[in-house]
């Protein structure tokens, strides 16, 4: 795809909500963002499992689908989160491979314990699955303040929970959140840039009005 074509596509899809006056005023920024969107679109890798076997992938997919279930709107399964996790385990989260390798058999053992008749987690009913996951969710204490280092070790369930959320909500151009499904769910528009008004409370803002009494300091 040549660059001018991608720019044209970006300009027709990426900034559809913006007025022409705003676009004119922001033209250098618009072009730069167009280049960005173009590169991001080219960098997405096609889905293929590199870490999981297809059996493991089915189990992880089933867990993710309970962490963020489909309920009229897409969930983690529909957003292709299992592909994101598979890629994560060979890239940024390679330290967590062991957690998954040990965690999946643990999950299987717990399933056997609670529901001896069920062969695999992905074959259990949603209610059974939730019960298994509740038993694995150890509610590890997590830092409550916004800026705290992440605990060094965490459980399989907590690791998978975080990976699922990341794969559901990441920028769709960054290799997860297929078709922007997660962003649709939380109401984040897909556009690469925005023009005010942004929301309900600023749409009728009359502009800055100084207070008359601002002349007297304190």
């Amino acid at each position: 795809m040549n660059n001018s074509l991608s720019r044209r596509r970006f300009l027709s899809h990426g900034i559809s909500g913006l007025s022409s006056a705003w676009i004119t005023a922001h033209w250098p920024a618009v072009l730069s963002a167009a280049d960005h969107a173009h590169r991001a679109a080219q960098s997405v890798t096609p889905p293929k499992f590199e870490f999981f076997s297809s059996e493991q992938a089915a189990e992880v997919d089933a867990i993710a689908a309970r962490i963020i279930p489909a309920d009229g709107t897409p969930g983690a399964r529909e957003a292709g989160v299992v592909y994101f996790i598979d890629r994560a385990l060979t890239t940024f989260a390679s330290d967590d491979q062991k957690t998954y390798k040990e965690g999946l058999p643990e999950l299987q053992a717990r399933l056997r314990e609670l529901f001896p008749a069920v062969e695999r987690f992905s074959a259990a009913t949603p209610e059974q699955q939730d019960e298994v996951l509740r038993s694995l969710d150890d509610h590890a204490p997590v830092p409550a303040r916004p800026f705290r280092p992440r605990p060094a070790a965490q459980s399989f369930f907590e690791t998978l929970r975080q990976h699922t959320i990341a794969g559901f909500l990441i920028d769709p151009d960054a290799g997860g959140n297929r078709d922007g499904a997660g962003w649709k769910v939380i109401g984040r528009e897909r556009e690469h840039m925005f023009q005010p008004p942004f929301g309900y409370y600023d749409k009728d803002y009359p502009g800055w009005q100084p207070l008359p009494k601002d002349a007297d300091k304190k």
Partner: protein, 561 residues
């Protein structure tokens, strides 16, 4: 964009070697090269540009694309000097050309007059190193104005009755208000307070080669792909490069300042990308490596002549660390704010900048701002670095399943935060130092942080959170909550660790930013600060850098370096 850069030989004695290319280093490089000097900037991180920046939260927040890397550069932490420090990440700073100014929020409040003379105003605070600056607001005012006009700051002069005097208005109007800002402004005025448009180092109007803010929403922690954020990269480094006298040398990790028998600095020793050691010679060395790495470098540079570390006859290198108190309250509203669009903070108030200790029962002061500084992922599971914390969700929100999904679906567009930024007191025990055991990937002693908040800092946090909740209630929030008030163990603002002063016994640098102990060594960054200000230090760091450039230029032209 990097064309026209000279390539100096390491054996060639340039006029200045600047260590670090962030808020201070970028400006010093620009000013000194513009003034005719030959400058080499050594930056430990890579040279990334707008085309390398991304909205990929994993690359940025988890893989530290723009920041120090916890695996290569491990840290240790302890609360008090009596404890053995434990391996733990303690800080995040920019590790790329442009430094932390690449990914910062870009809040650009000036310090006020009080910040420079408060010790004199309210008296000593026992057990602390609370002190006044050797310079005043009036000394720095021309440089604040210079920062605003040269790097590009959006704002509205005269909008806050608490603003200190200024010689010129802002060069461009404020950025557009967000829904959080409107909510904040209306409620604060109802309470009799004085909200105003937040001064931001983000362009509201384009400048040559730089776009105006496109409100993409990936601002805090991310690099700006349209050049609107006034980072050193976008606003200073390129000017320095265009002089033809400044070389930016990335991937250069300085680990020693070399001195000669007479005690003068002769240059900076660094590892290149292949971990080969070089010595870049220079007539003078300027360290702008941030309030953690600057003292670490001085301590790493200890030798027979300077056994306690370079420029450390006072014993204060690395001490009096201040992080700025910070806490926040959050509110959920009936209608969508869509505050994920745009920059972080559009309204602020300074009514509580100077609290009377007699009335409130503690020392301190600060500012509140209306903000949304979450990405979709950090909203749902919090924190930077990503931590699994509650993020923007109320406490006790279910962590998975349908109820969790309902919470993120409903709340993401309807939540705002009130940031409570404030003072921290300088305590000698709070410090950056060298860990005696742990080493980084280059075999150098790791950075160790010792930190325990002064009780007044925590009282201030609690007090300001109270005002923030009051404001959210006045605004009609459906639900409000706040962060727990806790002691800090993680640092973003790195202040006070090589403080400025007239007395070599109680400070590390003089008002010209010259190290008391080494004539041709200058330090300029967050480490220079004597007091913490009220939470937004970068504007002051940059004003100091512009001023330092003037002072150093004058000294050099008189042959006094």
């Amino acid at each position: 964009m990097r064309s026209g850069q000279p390539k100096y030989k390491t054996s060639e004695e340039v006029d200045f070697v600047v260590i670090g290319s962030g808020a201070a280093g970028g400006i010093l490089a620009k000013e000194l090269s513009t003034n005719g000097f030959r400058v080499v900037v050594l930056e430990q991180g890579p040279y990334l540009t707008e085309s390398d920046f991304t909205h990929d939260e994993i690359k940025v927040l988890q893989e530290d694309l723009l920041t120090n890397h916890p695996k290569l550069q491990p840290n240790t932490f302890r609360k008090t000097p009596n404890e053995k420090a434990k391996h733990q990440r303690v800080l995040a700073y920019g590790r790329c050309v442009g430094g932390t100014s690449v990914h910062f929020t870009a809040n650009f409040w000036r310090f006020h007059e009080i910040d420079f003379v408060e010790r004199n105003r309210i008296g000593a605070i026992p057990g602390t190193g609370f002190a006044d600056w050797p310079i005043t607001y009036a000394d720095l005012e021309p440089y604040y104005t210079k920062v605003e006009w040269e790097i590009g700051v959006s704002g509205l002069a005269g909008a806050s009755p608490f603003d200190p005097p200024r010689s010129k208005p802002y060069p461009m109007p404020p950025l557009p208000v967000k829904s959080s800002g409107v909510i904040f402004e209306r409620a604060a005025r109802k309470l009799g307070w004085h909200p105003f448009p937040t001064p931001m180092a983000i362009l509201s109007q384009p400048r040559p080669g730089r776009g105006a803010c496109a409100n993409c929403g990936f601002c805090l922690a991310f690099g700006c792909e349209v050049g609107a954020k006034s980072s050193s990269l976008a606003a200073a480094i390129r000017v320095a490069e265009r002089t033809g006298r400044c070389e930016i040398r990335p991937n250069s990790y300085v680990h020693r300042i070399e001195t000669d028998a007479s005690g003068r600095a002769v240059g900076a020793v660094y590892f290149d990308e292949q971990r080969i050691t070089h010595l870049q010679k220079a007539k003078a060395v300027i360290v702008c490596a941030n309030g953690a790495e600057t003292p670490r470098l001085l301590l790493l540079s200890a030798n027979k002549q300077f056994p306690e570390g370079l420029a450390n006859s006072s014993g204060l290198v690395g001490k009096y660390l201040m992080l700025n108190s910070y806490a926040s309250a959050l509110g959920l509203f009936e209608h969508p704010l869509n505050d994920y669009k745009g920059y972080a903070a559009s309204r602020v108030l300074h009514d509580f900048y100077e609290l009377d200790p007699q009335k409130v029962g503690f020392y301190g002061g600060g500012g509140l701002d209306a903000r949304f500084d979450f990405t979709p992922i950090t909203f749902a599971m919090g924190g930077y670095p990503l931590s699994g914390a509650p993020g923007g969700l109320p406490p006790n929100t279910p962590r998975w399943g349908k109820a969790f999904k309902d919470a993120i679906s409903y709340n993401f567009t309807r939540t705002m935060r009130i940031g409570c930024h404030g003072t921290s007191l300088p305590l000698e025990a709070n410090s950056f130092s060298l860990d005696p055991e742990l080493k980084d990937a280059w075999g150098l002693p790791a950075l160790r942080m010792t930190y325990k908040n002064h009780p007044d800092d925590l009282k201030l946090e609690a007090w300001q959170v109270g005002r923030a909740l009051e404001l959210l209630d006045a605004a009609g929030a459906v639900k409000t909550w706040h962060d727990p008030i806790e002691e800090d163990n993680f640092a973003f603002h790195l202040l006070g660790t090589c403080r400025m002063g007239n007395d070599p016994k109680t400070s590390v640098i003089n008002p010209d930013h010259r190290a008391h102990d080494v004539k041709n060594l200058f330090l300029c960054d967050g480490s220079s600060l004597v007091t913490s200000g009220r939470g937004q230090p970068t504007m002051t760091i940059e004003a100091l850098a512009f001023r330092a450039a003037d002072r150093i230029t004058a000294l050099a032209k008189r042959g006094e370096v």
